[in-house]
């Protein structure tokens, strides 16, 4: 059974090797990619069922247990995120197959995408700090290739920002690992959880802050997020979608994992809450200032990260459950939104609000596909975003953190405002006659490639399923939060005791 823990990493890696070795056969690459991701999704679900039944599942790689070897560990938290990630990765892969690209790009796209998948899976499953670094590097290097795939002028310029900032973060990550090793003499996270408890709390706090900042760069929290809105929008739509939906969330995952396991606090953390609040506000104001769908959506990523961090900052079971709930919701919704943005850009030839308009008459179905996740993002009931925000607001009010709750609610109103701006600009009204015209796309009903619409619709449907199945989902999140706040089970499982 424990093999299940390894396969989500190993399968895509092997498939990536095969896919690149045979990169002259794009049709084979396509089939291989979809087959692999479907299998991994199935495995992830099996893993979820298993972990729910049996608790933390571990796999000592090479049969070297404890701190000697690298251990992969699947607890509920990591498995929940894993399942959602795989859903999104599969959906976006189908979307990418459906969207036009040159064959030479495709050759590189599929193996890189599979490697990205493996990197994400490993980041979620590893219980070793240095291996987490390696996992991040796998994921990031794949993302570097994906964001510059196509090699246009704009992409290189914005890709540079992305690559450099992430490299900087990687350097700081390895620095933090070095300092941690200097203090505790181990990199196994469970071992660290034990050994860090013995060193001076002040040093531990400083280390905790350093890791928070390191992962905070990837997660794009204030004031470390500036790279994100500059670099995401230029990549091809499926790439942006997967970045927006998943990559920052892996950063959030790492923050939550390290802060709960290695640097647990005994109450709400003011530092994290302040960062959360600022992240929300600055992100949403940034979104309001933009005039391009993809840039607006990019700024919203930042704002939304604030909510997840808020859940961590409150540091109660309910709040962490809310954060997990929020991550799941956000991954689905955000990816769906970027996919819709890609559809708009694909058919209309632009993503500038001024050049767009009236699409509700020309593509009502696409309009609905946008509206549902957009409203969900703004926290409109009964959609998933509402439920996620409700959990956080309840958790915050429970421990009388009125300020952050107030901020989060105000930000959700502003989110609504800016989502409505997109709706109003893209789907209502007419293109600004003063704006330079985009491509001529006629005035009739618009036609969209079926393979692009299908996964988008599937993701939107999933967000609705989220609503219906909210209770079991919340239960699992709560369960995961309990394990996070009481990591003894995790530690014992990883150390093989």
């Amino acid at each position: 059974m424990n093999a299940l823990v390894v396969l989500p990493v190993a399968l895509p890696l092997g498939a990536a090797g095969l896919s690149y070795a045979l990169n002259r056969y794009p049709r084979f690459q396509r089939v291989l990619g979809v087959a692999t991701l479907t299998t991994v999704l199935g495995l992830a679900i099996a893993l979820l069922v298993n972990v729910q039944a049996n608790g933390v599942l571990v796999k000592a790689i090479g049969n070297w247990t404890g701190p000697i070897g690298i251990t992969l560990a699947a607890d509920l938290f990591s498995v929940i995120i894993l399942v959602v990630s795989m859903v999104v990765l599969l959906a976006v892969l189908v979307y990418a197959i459906g969207s036009p690209r040159t064959s030479s790009e495709a050759r590189f796209f599929y193996p890189t995408y599979l490697i990205l998948t493996a990197g994400i899976a490993l980041s979620l499953l590893t219980a070793d700090l240095f291996n987490l670094f390696v996992a991040f590097e796998i994921m990031l290097s794949a993302s570097y290739v994906l964001i510059t795939l196509g090699g246009s002028r704009d992409q290189i310029r914005h890709g540079t920002t992305y690559v450099i900032i992430n490299l900087l973060a990687s350097m700081l990550f390895i620095t933090a690992i070095g300092i941690t090793y200097a203090a505790a003499g181990t990199v196994n996270m469970a071992d660290l959880a034990v050994k860090l408890g013995d060193i001076s709390p002040a040093i531990r706090d400083a280390l905790g802050a350093l890791f928070l900042l390191v992962f905070g760069i990837k997660a794009a929290i204030f004031p470390l997020f500036f790279w994100l809105p500059d670099s995401y929008p230029t990549a091809p739509a499926p790439v942006t979608a997967i970045f927006a939906g998943l990559l920052t969330k892996v950063g959030v995952y790492a923050i939550i994992r390290t802060q709960t396991l290695l640097f647990p606090s005994d109450g709400p953390s003011t530092l994290i809450l302040v960062l959360a609040g600022l992240t929300m506000v600055v992100g949403v104001l940034g979104a309001i200032a933009q005039n391009d769908i993809k840039r607006i959506l990019s700024f919203h990523i930042i704002s939304q990260i604030g909510y997840m961090i808020m859940g961590l900052g409150l540091f109660t079971i309910a709040a962490l459950a809310g954060a997990i709930f929020y991550i799941v919701h956000h991954i689905l919704v955000k990816t769906a939104l970027f996919l819709v943005g890609g559809l708009v850009e694909h058919t209309m030839g632009t993503s500038r609000l001024r050049r767009l308009g009236g699409m509700v008459h020309r593509a009502p179905f696409i309009a609905a596909l946008f509206l549902i996740p957009a409203l969900s993002l703004a926290g409109i009931p009964p959609l998933s975003g509402f439920l996620a925000k409700l959990t956080l607001v309840q958790a915050g009010l429970e421990i009388n953190q009125f300020l952050i709750v107030g901020v989060s609610l105000a930000v959700s109103l502003l989110t609504l405002f800016s989502m409505i701006k997109v709706w109003s600009g893209v789907f209502w009204g007419t293109p600004d006659p003063a704006a330079p015209p985009g491509e001529d796309v006629g005035t009739g009903r618009l036609v969209f490639p079926r393979l692009m619409v299908l996964p988008t619709a599937a993701l939107v449907l999933l967000t609705l399923v989220f609503v219906v199945a909210a209770e079991p989902l919340y239960r699992i999140s709560e369960h995961a939060a309990i394990t996070l706040l009481d990591p003894t089970l995790y530690i014992e499982a990883v150390l093989g005791r």
Binding site: A3, V6, L13, G17, Y20, I61, G62, N63
Partner: protein, 142 residues
């Protein structure tokens, strides 16, 4: 193209071949002395660089670059497959299992799975060097 002396060409060729042999030696040495897949691969890479610097773009590394993706992909697959190989023999993923074997020329070599794993590493390193030299070393016609 610059004119080159025959002696220079021959000596470079010899050094290149010797380096390749040395890289294979380093590759096998790894388990007990400094060496291993990375270092072996790098020595081979260095040999390639040397030949590149000596020969300019005479097409050989172009040929190499054309097959680089096969080496890279295969290397990665071998490394992963080693992990699964352990499984087939009933051990853990990436667990080291030994299969004793007499290899000609190299003497008694205990062909462990980690050796196979190292072979994957070797292939990837060489593949990367070939790809990088072939791509970046290419003269831009403009």
């Amino acid at each position: 193209m610059m004119r080159r002396s025959l002696i220079f060409d021959v000596s470079i060729d010899t050094v290149f071949r010797m380096s390749l042999v040395f890289s294979i030696f380093m590759f096998f040495a790894g388990h007990n002395a400094p060496g291993g897949g990375f270092i072996g691969g790098l020595v081979a890479g260095a040999a390639l660089v040397l030949r590149y610097l000596a020969g300019g773009s005479d097409g050989s590394q172009q040929v190499g670059a054309r097959f680089a993706h096969v080496m890279l992909g295969t290397g990665l697959m071998i490394a992963v497959a080693t992990g699964f190989g352990g499984w087939v023999w009933g051990t853990e993923f990436l667990e080291n299992t030994g299969v004793g074997a007499e290899l000609p020329l190299l003497g008694t070599v205990k062909a462990t799975t980690s050796l196979l794993f190292d072979a994957g590493v070797y292939l990837v390193v060489v593949g990367l060097v070939m790809e990088a030299l072939g791509s970046l070393g290419h003269e831009v016609e403009r």
